[in-house]
């Protein structure tokens, strides 16, 4: 279970999260929706442990463990995974080298043996196939020359490989066409199970047609201001975020 209590966080001295509370049990999928600037991406980065984000108050525990005390790599080993909104391009680092290094680091950290090269290759190929990621794409440097959709599918591939307990997806639907959205959603849905918790961070309701959440939270000015079931997302789609601080276009 993920428990976020009274979370306050700031970037460069600017207060962004101002007392955020969420309880996300294992086996559930929660969506966090909110206008631009409400703190959605800050929450994602704080969960993953980005250094420039300073937590000034509150706590975050995952299955009882205080993740704020952990480095980003320790969080990954503990099962926290962030699918980035904008995955970075890293020229010179081969995608397969990266995937293998990450998978083995996580496995060793969890007390499992490293995978042999053939086993690793088999595993990656099988999962890449399901996400329609071509072998050619895997031969390229990490995220270099990937289209927006390819980057997002590659994030989901990493999620499938690392088998996290807590999946945080930051604006995963942004920049995706309908086909890519379907592929990504199928990948995410296939990972839904009673042991795994998922947090979908999104501006638009569209993604939630494909990945149906158990609960929807509205984030506004650094706090959860409303929670409800999936119908809340539809309501937001209708009315917009005007009442939550976003100016009408």
């Amino acid at each position: 279970m993920l428990e976020i209590k009274n979370l306050h966080a700031e970037v460069d001295g600017e207060k962004i999260l101002k007392g955020l509370n969420i309880t996300l049990p294992r086996g559930e999928v929660h969506a966090i929706m909110g206008p631009n600037g409400s703190g959605k991406s800050t929450l994602a980065n704080v969960l993953a442990g980005k250094e420039d984000y300073e937590v000034t108050k509150g706590s975050i525990t995952w299955n009882g463990a205080d993740i704020l005390k952990m480095s980003p790599e320790e969080r990954a080993i503990a099962g926290v995974f962030l699918a980035f909104q904008y995955p970075v391009e890293i020229p010179g680092v081969a995608t397969m080298t990266f995937l293998r290094t990450a998978l083995n680091a996580v496995r060793v950290g969890r007390g499992e043996p490293e995978l042999t090269t053939p086993d690793f290759m088999r595993l990656v190929r099988a999962k890449a196939d399901g996400l329609q990621i071509s072998p050619d794409m895997l031969k390229r440097p990490l995220n270099v020359g990937f289209s927006g959709g390819e980057k997002k599918r590659h994030e989901i591939l990493q999620m499938e490989l690392l088998e996290p307990g807590l999946c945080v997806l930051d604006e995963t639907d942004s920049g995706l066409d309908i086909d890519a959205l379907r592929i990504v959603s199928e990948g995410v849905n296939s990972l839904r199970n009673p042991e795994r918790a998922m947090l979908l961070i999104t501006h638009y309701q569209r993604l939630l047609n494909y990945i149906v959440p158990d609960q929807v939270h509205v984030l506004s000015d650094g706090k959860i201001v409303r929670s409800g079931d999936k119908s809340l997302a539809l309501e937001l789609e209708e009315s917009g975020y005007a009442e939550y601080g976003e100016k009408a276009a």
Partner: protein, 449 residues
Amino acid sequence: MDMPANALTTEAEQGFAELYDGARAKLPGANNAWARELRDQAMREYAAIGLPSRRVEEWKYTDLRRLLGEAYAPAPALSEALSQDDIRAILGEGLAGLDCHQMVLVDGQLRRELSDFGFVGDQGEVTSLGTALATPPKWLKTSFGKVNPPERDAVLALNAAFMSDGIALRIPAGFAVTRPIHVIHVHTAKRPVGVTTRNFVSIGKAAKVTLIESFFSVSDAAVQHNVATELDVGDGAQVSHIKIQNENQAATHLATWMTRLGTGADYKAFQFSVGAALSRSQVFLIFAGEDSSANVSGAFLLRDRQHHDTTLVVDHAVAQCESRELFKAVLDDDARGVFQGKIEVHPHAQKTDAKQMAQGLLLSEAAEFDSKPELVIFADDVVCGHGSTSGQIDEESMFYMRSRGISEAQARSLLIQAFAGEAVELIENETLREVLLGSVADWLAKRNA
């Protein structure tokens, strides 16, 4: 020898002049008038200019007058005996596994028992430079010292004055040396010595060769190594030229490459440096015939108080040639890396295509990268460009990798390897490429230890 001594003011400057007086009669070729005059002339040139200081533009960042405290006496001719097994151990598994023709110089003397002379066929010649100076063949006498030498260069002058040995090689026209020629320099002297080596390589029309020069130490004692290589590349020849400098951390390494390319030639050069306290690698390349291409690239990784200077002059003297340079500097601790890259395009050198890039990666606050690109263009129909960057490890990339479970040290290593690897990947020989990627990993392993 009488010479104007007024330019020689420091202890080291005067030391070289005194050492020359003592060594002159014993150096190879002392009984040959041509060789003797070559040395004396070089020494006169040196005496007139002295060691370069920072006031000499080409030496702005590497002030030898200040950095060289004293001149070390030439290493004794009789060095420690090394076996083939010793050489393999010195090279390490990867490099020792390279299928090549080895020529080994120990403390500046070519060791026949460790060297292979049979690879240029009946028409070619390969000999030790010492022998060639004592009884100079015509092909050597005509071109020696004349393959694109820099003007007023004290380091090159000292090289000609003191050169003890090296290889003299003539590859006949149309001849392909199938395996790389690997010239291995090993320092064994247990006290500070001067070592001066010189290679002269004449490559015939349409010949093919890969030449590797590597530098290692088995002793910790300081050495002043002055090495120069002349490469006269014939029309249509294809040449790979690779240097691996891994001398000990007390060494001074002063190297000069002079290369002249004929028409339609292809030259691919790579320099890799991790060794020596103070090193300078100068490369002078001239396009003397049209339609030739050259790629001169490299990587240097420095730590502690190491100082390395790569200074490059690419001279487009004729039209329609292409040059590329990519240099990567990884700098840790108090290390200082210097890159000076000059591209000259003469008035008639139309359709020149020249691009240069130098990038520094600073791993500490105190590390320094000085990069000075310079384009001198007198032709109007050319494509020329240069770039230089200096920066630290990208924090966004670090966070991305760490968020996938990769440790901070490992993530940093992957990024540094990627940075240097971009240049190393240019090496076509797969074994060498793997060896040097491995050397980058070894360098990083020491950092993380």
